[in-house]
Every structure is written in structure tokens, then in C-alpha cells.
Amino acid sequence: MASTQTSIDVVMPQMGVSVSEGTIVRWVKQEGERIEADETLLEISTDKVDTEVPSPASGVVTEILVPEGETVEVGTVLARIGGEGAAPAAPPAPEPATQPAADAAEASASEGQAPVAEPQAVAQQPAPTAEPAHSGNGKSFISPVVARIASEHGIDPSQVPGTGNGGRVTKRDIQAFIDSGASQAAPAQPEPAQAAPPPPAPVEAVAPAPPAPAPPAPAPAPVTAQAPTPAPASQEAAPPGLGETFEPMSAMRRGIAEHMRRSLDTSAHVTSAIEVDMSRVVQIREKLKKEFQSAYGVNPTYLAFIARAATETLRDYPWVNGELRGDKIVTRNYVNLGFAVELADGKGLIVPVVKNAETLNLLGMAKSIADIAKRARDKQLAPDDVAGGTFTITNPGGYGTFLGTPVISQPQAGILGTYAIVKRPSVITDENGTDAIAIRSMMNLTLTYDHRLVDGAYAGRFLRDLRERLQTWGESDY
């Protein structure tokens, strides 16, 4: 580590979900040369795509660490910009340079190309060379049609007996394979068919990924350290045993796996639960429903009520809405609320974000949630729609679950779980102090928080206040 006063690392950018490495094609600037922020420093290539990598800062190229022609893992430090006057670009370059691409996208036929690097090995690792010298023969042809069907059904095409030329798997082969039930592993696939008016693979405009890592650009130190480490997924898996079926892991699934693991490795997860009497909200919702529907075409869901109440409560508990960034605690005067949305039947998870939730009333919240949820399912989210969340709500209660311990969406500090609302006998006390048993609509809420930042009592008070808001929701509270 050359530690001049300010030395900024330039790392191999993340060029896609399943792109784990890149090759240095050309250094546009050499050691000792001056460079301005955003000016092209080098060019890299991946596949047949050449990409210009801009300098993340103005200064002097103090070190070039990887020579032309070499292929290295994403996140590898390629060069350092430093010397006198080295300063990070004012608005940190929007480029991929230092920041792991937040968005992934269901890359349908998940190319099995995420070759697993030791997280630490990020430093220097001159891998062989990009374009492996492919011999012309023995290539497995898979037509896009077959690839799409395979991915829709979660089938590894190599498991399908091929009758085409050279054992190639034809469309008929894969149909027959599915019809034969050999692929029974995938229980739930009615949807994709209609969900795919644009014929191609499950790709689509932009389907950003799971609770994407997206570490914040600013923090100077951890930037490179946080370079995404390829999922420790496919270590040489043992072949499928009797009765087992293999299916390929989609890029999104890999992204989720990596993120979940990393979150658990990062935050000290603790979950607290509280029971909320939702009777009032149920009542008010019944009243509002018709009005909201007819006037605005929007359903005032319970989630909207909870999101609204949570946003209010977060203002009083900035750490729950905060973040640990290096050795600093980040708090905010705004709330960007993420909502965990499941994509068709276990196909993946996406966390679109409602920005500045603190400016929304109940109607605005309901509308915003409906909008992002729809766009998430239609794969119409823009990368920006999944970035910048400060707190997340997950709602597994739709299936009747009454408790859970969700995983925090990094780098946030908390996630609220909402569960089924059920009618239960409940002891209530009337104004005369008399206890009675009444039928109430009850719901559990959980707050899973990062105990590094949020303590149990603080979390408890947050939940208490949130409950209070929900239980005393006023007719005129929007």
C-alpha cells in the first residue's frame, strides 16, 4: 500500500452480474502522467466488449499495477492515482470505476462463469488470459429458444438427452424432457409464459437485482475493500445423487446468495417482535377503501399504513434509518423505503425503493408502493429504483406466517417484518379499568436490526412507538 497523503485506487469495475473478470487492453495514461477525473485511464475488455475506464479522481498516475494483456478479477486494484493535488472527483464519477454495479439482471441462461475467487485474493491475481483458446470442435450448441425454455423450467440443458446433430439438444428434445416429468424439480412454472410478451429470455429493460450491495460511493477507504466478491457458489459441486435434480443457478439467485451471506457476515443481526392491535387500522381501511379505489384507483393496503407509520417513527429513531460506514455513523433527514418484492414464484427477490417516503401521505404511499411493485414484477424498474434505500420493509405475512427473522439489506441497519393479521381473543381494558375479552385484529411486527449500531432498548422503543401509531391511527391521519 503506497500511502501518500491521498492515493485513490482504480479497480477493475463490475461489468455485469456474471462477469467476474476483465482484461486490460490498453493503458491510455502511463505512470507519472497527469489525469483529470473522468478522463479515460485505461480500456478493458470482457467478452467482445471493450470498455473505457475513467479515472475516479484528478491527479497523477502514481502506479500501474496490472500490465496490458493481463486478466484480473473484478475489484482488483489496477492503478493508483495520487500525488499532490489528488482529489476525488467532485461528484464521484458515475462510472463503474470504483463501485460495484448495483444492478443485476436476470441473465437468463446463467453462464456458468462465476469462478469463485477467494474474497481476499482481490489484490493481484494475474489469471490466465481472457479469450481461452477455444478449439473449434466439441462445442455445445444451444439455440436461444432452447436456452430460454431451459431457463424458464430451471433445467440444465446438459442434462437433456439431445437427438440433434452431434447430440445437440433441440427444442423438441427439451419439450419431451419437460413433458416426461424429468424436470419435476421445478414445481412452479405457469407464469413465465404469459409474463414474457417480449419473447427473449427473462431479461428485459432493467431488472435490477436483489437487495443489491451498492456500497455508497463516498467512503474513501472501504471502497475497494468492498469490491464484490463472486459468490462462493459453485465450488465443484458433487454430481446429483439418486433422486436429485440439478438446475442452474440464475445470476439473480447468485446475487441474492452472495448478498444474504455477506449481510449475515457484516451485521450483528438481532430480531425483536411486538404484537400490534390493528383493529383501528382495519376499520379505517374499510372506510377509505372505496374512496381510494374510486377516486384514485389505489388500494390502501395494510402495508401502506405500516409504511406510513414506520416512516414517521423512523424520524425519531435515526439510527434505525442509519448506516455504519467505516467507523462513522450515518444518519439522514430523509427516509428511502425499500420493499422486498418477490418475483414470480421464487424466481428472485428485488427491493425497489420509494424515495423520500417522509414526503408521502397515506395515499401517496399506497400509490408509490403499487407502482414500484408493479414495475418490479413487469421488470420495468430502472437501476435508480433499487438504489439508495435507507430502511426496508418485508411482508411475508400474506401467507399466514406470524414471525420471521429477515436479513438486513446492506448497508442498512434495519428491516421491518410484517406478518399476518388474525382475529384473536384479546384482553382489553375499558375506560373504567374493567378488563374484558374482545375479538381484535392482531398482527406481529418484527424489527431486525444491526446490533453494532442499534441496541435492544432503542429497537424496543422504536417498535413501541410504531405500535402506538398504528393503534391510535386517527380518522383524519393520512
Binding site: D47, R168, P199
Partner: protein, 228 residues
Amino acid sequence: MALEAQLINLGTVDYREALDLQRTIAAGVADGSLPDTVLLLEHPPTITLGRRTEEGEVHVPDGAEVDVVEVDRGGKSTYHAPGQLVCYPILDLTRHGQDVKKYCRQLEEAIAQTLSAFSLEGATIEGLTGVWLQSPPRKIASIGIHLSKWVSTHGYALNVDLDPAPFTDWITACGLDGYAFTSMARELGRPVAVDEVRPVAAQTFAEVFGITFEERSPAGIARIPAFG
């Protein structure tokens, strides 16, 4: 809610001229002053050398009527000529998944769907980009892409109806020694006009990328700042 993009049919354009145009448009797409733009065109006979073109790949016979141009795209050498539909999508890939691999696959898919409208089954070969017909492998379309600030230039070239001999005789196209190149006309056993393929290519592209095209005449380009 598909994204809006503009489509421009340029006819036959000199390679360098088209390159300048791409760069101008790319600058506009990068700064948000232009929407995603797709150019469809043909080139006069031209050999282009990508960054990874190696010595010995080019062996043009003396007197051949062909331009040789070095370009800033990935990949190796290739050959363009009338009868080949060239598609240059200038897209802000941050709106399209921000993933180079995905982008390559989408281009391949668009080509394969175009071919399939003519009853040809395009396929991809693991480890090699471009789109192929099979048994034996014959390359029918090439792909080469350049990105700057996630804005793409260059794209694909689909052999509609041209003599594929120069791919192998004049150069070792794409660095692929011993591979055959073909065209739609050759496969279908009939002449195929680029005019016939172009609308299909536009449509499949729009479908694959989830965009709707507004077609602009080349004259519309004059309105692009710094051009003409």
C-alpha cells in the same frame, strides 16, 4: 411502458463517416440530450481491425477494392460490404441492465429472432460471440462492442446477401481460423434484399430490448448538435 428509442436507417455509409456519427450520437446519449438510438445501415467493402486483431490475420490480395480501417471496438478483424445489414445500437446500458454479458446475449437473441423469421435457426456457441448456423458451424453474424460510460457503440453485422469469401480469403475474420462464414441468401438458396430484413431486425431488436422505436429520417440527424 417501453423505453423510447429512435431508429435511423442510413442506407450505405462510409465506415469512418458512420463511426464519427456514432461518436457524436454516443456523446448525446451519454449526456442525456439524445434518446437511445439505433442505426441500421450498410457499408461499402471495408475491413475493420479491432483491438485484438493479430498479425497475420489480414491478408488482402493486391488490387482488392476494399478499405482497411482500425477501430476502437473489441474483437478482431471483420469484413463489411453491401448486402450485410449493420446495426449500431447506441444505448445507455444503465437503462438496460448494466451488464456487458447480458447486452451481448440480447444482441445475439435479436439476431437469432431475425433469422428465425426467415426460418433459419441461429445459435450461439459457448465461448464465441456472434451468431451461427449449425452443423457444420457457419458464422452468419458478427458482434463487436465498445462502451464508454456505459454507452454502447458498434454492434452487429448480419450477412444477408454478400459473398462471404473475403471473411476467410482476405482476413482471418474474428481470429477464427478454419471456420466458415455464410449469408442468409446462401442458406435460403435465393436472393435476399437487405430491405427485406431491415424491418424485421428493427422489430426483433425492439422486442428483445423492450423499447419502442420512433423512426427518424437521416435528415433528422442534422438536428443533432455538432453534426452537419
